[in-house]
Symmetry: C2
Subunit: 180 residues, 2 copies
DNA sequence: TAGATTGTTAATCGATTAACAATC
DNA sequence: TAGATTGTTAATCGATTAACAATC
């Protein structure tokens, strides 16, 4: 992964030593400790807001549950799909989210609504006491200090890829060898 | 977005000045220049490899095309779905990718296959001369120097979110106020 | 001129890397 | 003891921030 041994030791050192000088690491113990630090033992409950292509794809993605992230509800505004089930989880109307949160503990809201609604949806989730936001809308959203947000900006990632492609192409092109 | 004016000026400076001291920036010109640097005028052609939930969701995502990234082919191994069309683009068998690339210019391969096949698929794409990889498999893949790879690690992002939630929870919890 | 704004250099900060002591 | 490996500090590197000169 392109990480130096120095960096590994330095990172472990931040959380206290896990090995024995001159002997090595007990890999099994080390993995367990890192898992504990990352909180991999915890099961988080998620709701997906926005049952479009991406929302449904994430709901069907089975590997999140293995890592401790379970989808317990999907919400949308489109009457056409409300009532349907995705991987055994019902699509409900966004208006019933408030009631849902009183009956179920929700750790994370997955925001897969269009850009224009992201702000509103996040405010609603935060207002209902949800402390984690996994945001797929291409918007930079402000949240209160006690709320954690993690962004997946797909378009940004594509643009970076395109930029690097363009740059790499120029480097290879001898007619533009001078600029780096 | 939490960026200082210093950082904005420093970043612009890297590419040469776009403004006029004491006067300001011509915003329209500036946007155009940044667009040129990022290569937003270019249209890139993409193939999606892996027509599962995520692959299909990305194929249906209309906003990429607006940014200059067009899906021109979808590939999979499942006979059940080959021949189907997603947003007007046909799902083809992965074995026909080689022929496809001789008839169509492909800039980017979007890899949405399971972890176990990612390595193989990327090697194949690179072998066919595709210079850009947009990787959604949770694998750290090595590519040759002239190939650009951009990763979207969804599980990593979720784990970071979970870790920050856990940390924030501890900070709020007065019984564990000491560790930071 | 006075105020405002950008260009450019210098200072600061944080993360990565190197070095070596402390072990087994 | 010799070789190997981790813990911990110091040096290096790069990015962010601050400062101020150069304008309009």
């Amino acid at each position: 992964m392109g990480i130096t041994s120095s960096q590994v030791r330095q990172d472990f050192f931040t959380f206290g030593g896990f090995g024995l000088q001159g002997y090595g690491y007990d890999v099994e113990l080390l993995c367990r400790e890192i898992g504990n630090i990352l909180g991999l033992g915890i099961m988080y409950q998620m709701v997906i807001i926005g049952a479009g292509n991406l929302g449904q794809a994430l709901a069907k993605h089975t590997s999140f549950e293995k890592r401790g992230f379970r989808v317990i509800g999907i919400f949308d505004v489109s009457d056409r799909i409300i009532g349907e089930k995705i991987s055994g989880v019902e699509i409900m109307h966004i208006d019933s989210l408030a009631e849902f949160t009183t009956q179920n503990h929700v750790d994370i809201a997955v925001v897969t609504v269009p850009y224009a609604y992201a702000r509103e949806v996040v405010d609603k989730a935060v207002g209902l006491g949800i402390k984690g936001i996994w945001n797929f809308a291409s918007a930079e959203l402000k949240v209160p200090d006690d709320v954690v947000i993690e962004n997946i900006h797909l378009s940004d990632s594509l643009i970076v890829l395109g930029y690097n492609l363009k740059k790499k192409g120029r480097e290879t092109d001898p007619s533009a060898a001078k600029d780096k």
